[in-house]
Assembly symmetry: C2
């Protein structure tokens, strides 16, 4: 156990050793082999017998967003608790470092990824493992009672942010960064990284996990954004966002899982009859290194790799990103700000031109030298099985029209960062792209 | 019809004439005399036959907030549409004026009050009265298609704000102020007011209606708040608010109105068996001056006048207001920032000391010279029958302890104004008190 950065040796060697120690085996199993999980007799909901963890329920969606009227139903993951995604920060040699953990999750395509210092559900830290088995937890919870902000360390970030609105029912986690002066013992699996190092690692596939990406995206910029040079003022941006919400007539009601239409349950999966975007499956996990060395659980397995792309162009010399007011059924307040394009590309390309996701064709037509970032990153490996998105940032010509459909808007990176100080504005895929955009240097 | 301010003559004469013209008669009637409204056979919900307007449904609340575990159910008003509360602004002689309307609402204790330029539900302006019968509506809707912010006039405020979380299910309205340079014909019932005049009128009982108060509270301050002189930084404030949400385990589920326990339905009311805070009643309204000269509707009638009080003390010379993270069952995200005290005073005083609302005794013990504001103001008269709160702002001694329970926090007026640029932070009663605090001069 060491206290400073770099004492663990070079990154590649350290990471390979962490991968070896945290080796896990994940196998898909029939639902009947789940231990502790049952389908409710009345509703068909898939739940843990204790009522803890999460459940798979049904959601019926009516009405429309900017895309027009629709009605459908689907399974959705209900995990009402607010968990903590917390990163410890500390300055060594004048440079701020962040403590990340090499962590295996059953859904990861590659075993371990770099995750926040603490990644814990409320059940984790209040009921199940009471007594501090979540390492470094004390810096992120129970800060009350010592006066706001006067607990251990200084809070740099503490804000609820949403997670996947297509898969989760109104799920949020507490995104936190706490800066300390204390000596911090560096436990196995943990390592200090500078922001530059984290940004460099964002240029590798599937290495910085979703939870670390969202927390890092919330880090305040060195200078406050004042909207100077932006096409739209913050008030105009607020008005665009408010208008999109006012126009959106989507309603989403929880229904019994047996009540979702078009989905069938087999011994091994809950899947949509005709294709579909995801399936619910069950897995058996063996992870000898973990406190609980084996368990079974349901997971949501996307059927295809998604695409999340952010297009930008310079306006008056300042890069402006084209974002959309993206309606998502599981979103607490109907819609949040999403990337320019967020879709399953094969599905989008198969549609007639006028039904294709806007700007997908623009992205496809760009020459390779306009692509500034193009990496595959994983979504949360504790609930999602092998869920990957291709994240792309691409620059448009300066003669690209600034006139865009109502649900789109041009914003600067500084404006997105300003909105990230608050909940309910920037969705999870857009937050990953904010972190990647800041990594472009 | 006149174009400028003051052309309508002095305020008292103008207002008396408006009251005369807008005379209305409101009578309570049995539910069976409602026209177009029925109790649903299955759920017992009280709904309009067209599915429009609003409905009275049931809400079951479980878990607890900072106050500890509780479980109860109650009727709640469900009005999922987002309406517009819009005020037109225009500068005359170098001074910004706001266009208010003398408007009668069936629930008003005194007939007419001053309301925003536009106060309209989405049904009002999209389906029912399509074609512009809501005066001045064009400045507030369909701003899209002309480019964000490039529509008629300049948007000063455009943000969704919540309404009463104890009575409404996740209700929000769009709070807007739009400044124009156009000549604006001043229709009957409308009149231009300066901000100073509005603030002076806030010192009268029941004159500036709730909708006007909330919109005015969102007006940006002349100088942006930078948190200088504040006890807590905006980041610390965000952390306090996030922690309160993470700690809150309240869940609220819509249930059939027949499923609320302890409430009984008689021919004339739905009321709680043993006392209770409100009843659901039905009224017949005759308003010859309105486009629809008579109608019937259900209303929510509070049983008592409430108290909403904001206590403040100077810290380092800067007034700091004591606010609470107030859990309310109908709130979209569990809790928002509320006044120091918000209760029914007689009910609170009847409790044993350790169960009384915190700071109610402090308020009661203050000498009269500490009371800076003390007026009765009405809540929304279109849904609530004779709903009044006593709004109080009082100054504490400078030796009043700054150490407060976890769910309370000291904030400056500038910080509250900064939060009012966003949704889901400051609740409706606190917004009235912000408007009143700014009226103290």
């Amino acid at each position: 156990m060491v206290n400073g950065p770099r004492a663990e040796g070079d990154f590649a060697t350290w990471f390979a050793e962490r991968a070896r120690v945290n080796d896990q085996r994940v196998e898909t199993i029939p639902f009947s082999a789940l231990s502790g999980w049952d389908f409710d007799e009345d509703t068909g909901d898939l739940r843990h017998r204790t009522g803890r963890f999460f459940s798979v329920r049904g959601l019926r969606i009516r009405g429309g967003g900017p895309e027009g009227p629709r009605e459908w139903s689907q399974p959705i993951i209900d995990q009402p608790e607010i968990g903590v995604l917390g990163i410890l920060a500390k300055t060594f040699g004048g440079v701020r470092h962040f403590l990340l953990q090499a962590k295996a999750e059953p859904g990861n395509v590659n075993g371990i990824q770099l995750s926040p210092t603490v990644q814990a559900t409320r059940s984790n830290y209040t009921r199940v493992h009471r007594g501090g088995s979540v390492r470094y937890l004390e810096y992120f919870t129970d800060r009350r009672g010592r006066g706001h902000g006067r607990g251990r360390g200084r809070v740099l970030v503490d804000v609820l942010q949403s997670e996947q609105g297509a898969w989760f029912l109104r799920k949020r986690n507490r995104n936190m960064i706490v800066e300390v002066d204390d000596d911090i013992p560096v436990q196995d699996d943990f390592r200090w990284f500078t922001l530059d190092e984290i940004r460099a690692l964002l240029h590798r596939d599937n290495l910085i996990n979703m939870d670390a990406r969202t927390v890092i995206s919330c880090l305040p910029p060195d200078r406050p954004a004042d909207g100077r040079g932006a096409l739209h003022s913050m008030t105009e941006l607020s008005s665009w966002f408010t208008e999109a919400k006012a126009r959106c007539e989507l309603t989403a009601d929880v229904v019994p899982l047996t009540g979702v239409t078009g989905w069938r349950r087999t011994p091994t999966e809950i899947a949509y009859d005709e294709g579909g975007r995801f399936r619910i499956i069950a897995v058996d996990v063996t992870a000898p290194h973990r406190e609980v060395p084996s368990w079974t659980q349901p997971m949501l397995a996307p059927c295809d790799r998604g695409l999340a792309a952010l297009l930008y162009r310079r306006i008056g010399g300042v890069p402006h990103f084209l974002v959309q007011a993206q309606v998502q059924e599981g979103c607490l307040d109907k819609l949040e700000i999403g990337p320019t394009v967020h879709c399953v590309p094969d599905e989008g390309a198969a549609l007639p031109p006028d039904e294709r996701p806007p700007y997908l064709d623009v992205l496809d037509s760009l020459s390779p030298d306009r692509i500034r970032y193009d990496r595959v990153q994983s979504e949360e490996g504790g609930r999602f099985f092998a869920a990957e998105n291709r994240y792309v940032i691409a620059e448009l010509d300066e003669d690209f029209p600034t006139d865009v459909p109502d649900r789109f808007c041009w914003v600067t990176l500084g404006q997105l960062k300003e909105l990230l100080r608050h909940s309910h504005y920037v969705n999870i895929e857009a937050r990953t792209l904010v972190a990647c955009a800041e990594a472009l240097g």
